[in-house]
């Protein structure tokens, strides 16, 4: 691939992720502001965004943060919240034929939900190239880290993020991404299974098991529907 087409691919990825960057900025700001109220310094909040780079688990960590920080509790909660990334990287890996093994490994380190979703869309439409993926990852990563620093530094000036509805930007982004994966009734059945399992599990089990439970139940329903289809039973 020549320099010109590499630049084209990078720009394509950057354009695709642009609306999600606009949506993630308020989320990053809220995270930074929240982290400071939990006793983290702006440097620590920014370090967390830079090294962890997984919004959902960072918010959960803030929820259970103690002083001094308990690395085991926070680490385990992060593992549970992010266990979905195992499925996400397995799924995306099947569409990464244009990547060398080393590129694949490096790309996976930046597998935030939004980047991953846009990469999955790309796999369905055309070939996903490393340059396209970099176009997704680089600007989004920088926006996430910079917004955490800004939020932590200016936290008090932001006002109450809950009153402004900014905390809702996170679920709103997820809903928009879900709608992008809609493919008819089969998707509907998977969503109902996943949503129901998540709500029930959250009710009966403490912590964040509900994410893993919902994902697994959605997958089971998909497998059952496929089996019925192949054995000739009407779905």
């Amino acid at each position: 691939m020549n320099t010109h087409s590499i630049r084209q691919e990078f720009l394509g990825g950057a354009l695709a992720i642009a609306p999600l960057i606009a949506a993630v900025l308020p989320i990053g700001l809220v995270f930074g502001a929240l982290a400071v109220t939990k006793g983290l310094s702006p440097a620590e909040a920014t370090l967390m965004s830079a090294l962890v780079f997984a919004g959902g688990s960072q918010f959960v960590a803030m929820d259970i943060w103690t002083h001094p920080a308990a690395w085991m509790g926070v680490g385990f909660a992060t593992l549970l919240v992010n266990i979905r990334h195992v499925l996400m990287s397995a799924s995306l890996a099947t569409g990464m034929q244009a990547f060398t093994p080393r590129q694949k490994l490096f790309a996976m380190l930046f597998l935030a939900d939004e980047i991953w979703a846009m990469a999955e869309f790309r796999v369905r439409a055309a070939q996903l190239t490393p340059a396209w993926f970099a176009g997704l990852a680089v600007p989004f990563y920088l926006a996430w880290v910079a917004s955490a620093l800004a939020g932590a530094s200016l936290g008090a000036l932001l006002g109450d993020p809950v009153l402004l509805g900014l905390d809702f930007a996170f679920p709103a982004v997820f809903i928009v991404l879900i709608m992008g994966f809609w493919k008819g009734r089969r998707t509907g059945a998977v969503l109902i299974a996943s949503g129901t399992a998540a709500v029930v599990t959250q009710h009966v089990l403490p912590g964040v098991w509900y994410i893993a439970a919902g994902a697994v139940c959605g997958l089971i329903v998909a497998l059952v529907l496929d089996r019925q289809e192949t054995s000739g039973v009407a779905p």
């Binding site: 499925l87 099947t94 679920p171 809903i175 879900i178 399992a197 709500v199 959250q202 919902g214 997958l219």
Partner: protein, 100 residues
């Protein structure tokens, strides 16, 4: 701009856990063969995962969040991504201000 050791250890533990999950899928597909049926099932993982994350907000938190989730989802059928997110955020702010 202070950085304390327990906080850095906690951040490193979180980072290690996240890297483990993100690289884990690569290891998984190396040892599990992918038939067309399995591949089709894997394609349903994305919406299932995202749904599990938002379900408590969408159905348990309160009427303002439930309504705003519905508005966001309907908007996403027709409108660009960012517009849908802004509509959802505006909707939740308005409903909360109205006392829901």
């Amino acid at each position: 701009m202070s950085v304390t050791a327990p906080t850095v250890f906690a951040i490193l533990a979180m980072a290690a856990a996240t890297v483990l999950t993100r690289v884990g899928g690569l290891v998984l597909v190396r040892y599990v063969s992918l038939s067309p049926g399995r591949r089709r099932a894997i394609e349903t993982i994305p919406p299932a995962v995202l749904m599990a994350v938002v379900a408590p907000t969408a159905f348990v938190t309160g009427p303002a969040e439930t309504l705003a989730c519905a508005v966001t989802a309907i908007a996403a059928l027709r409108l660009p991504m960012l517009v849908s997110v802004i509509l959802g955020v505006g909707c939740v702010a308005a409903l909360r201000a109205a006392g829901f």
